[in-house]
Amino acid sequence: MQHHLTLPNDINTIPQLGTFVEGICEETGVSMENTMQLNLALEEAVVNVMSYAYPEGTTGYVDIDINTVDHRMCIIISDSGKPFDPTTKEEVDITLSAEQRPIGGLGIHLIRNIMDEVAYERKDNRNILTLKKYLPNSLK
């Protein structure tokens, strides 16, 4: 089953992601824990697009498509903003002390930890980020 959501680059629309993901996860029989983690990975990816893809002061859109087939959930986040590959960001060093830790960089780190596959491509002038997670205990 395909599910789709389009959001403008407005941080205040982020809570809609929670409702969107929760609905799909409930239908698919995904555990609470995985639901929360999927919500988190999706929020991180979408906030990145909202923050970086479009010039400040302009309205742009981020498209989210989710489908589940054979216990594999595939989330595609795409936008028509400037080329931006979040997977090339350096790995965060989680062993650093609080004093040494930079404030940023956690978003992609969380996405990589939560999802089983993370892939970026630039196609037809769009950024396309594909996230996949295997959910062996889901209903579908």
């Binding site: 982020i14 965060v92 956690l106 780190h109 930890n113």
Partner: protein, 100 residues
């Protein structure tokens, strides 16, 4: 997300209630100014009613933690649920805070 802050035993206790997603963290930054100002004391973040945290929320916690270190105070995090505990572990935050 709501934060209620109370003075207690010379320190401060903040109760976090709801979801600390990106827009909530932007607002919470303002609400937490009294904590940043009093980061020389013991600040307890009671997360029993905290349902969700994203990297924006973690960043707030980290900023508070850094401020406490600079001012000689300490941050205690209490009652995080299992999901949030996992997020803390994934990001190495579990070792950055005193967690009760």
């Amino acid at each position: 997300m709501n934060i209620t802050i109370q003075e207690e035993n010379g320190g401060f206790v903040a109760h976090l209630n709801g979801r600390l997603d990106t827009p909530a963290a932007i607002k919470a930054q303002q609400d937490m100014v009294p904590l940043m100002e009093n980061a020389d004391k013991v600040i307890t973040l009671d997360c029993e009613a905290l349902e969700y945290i994203s990297s924006s929320g973690l960043r707030l916690f980290l900023a508070l933690r850094k401020e406490a270190t600079a001012k000689g105070g300490s941050i205690i995090i209490k009652n995080i649920n299992d999901e949030i505990k996992k997020v803390f572990m994934m990001t190495g935050f579990y070792n950055l805070f005193t967690i009760q």
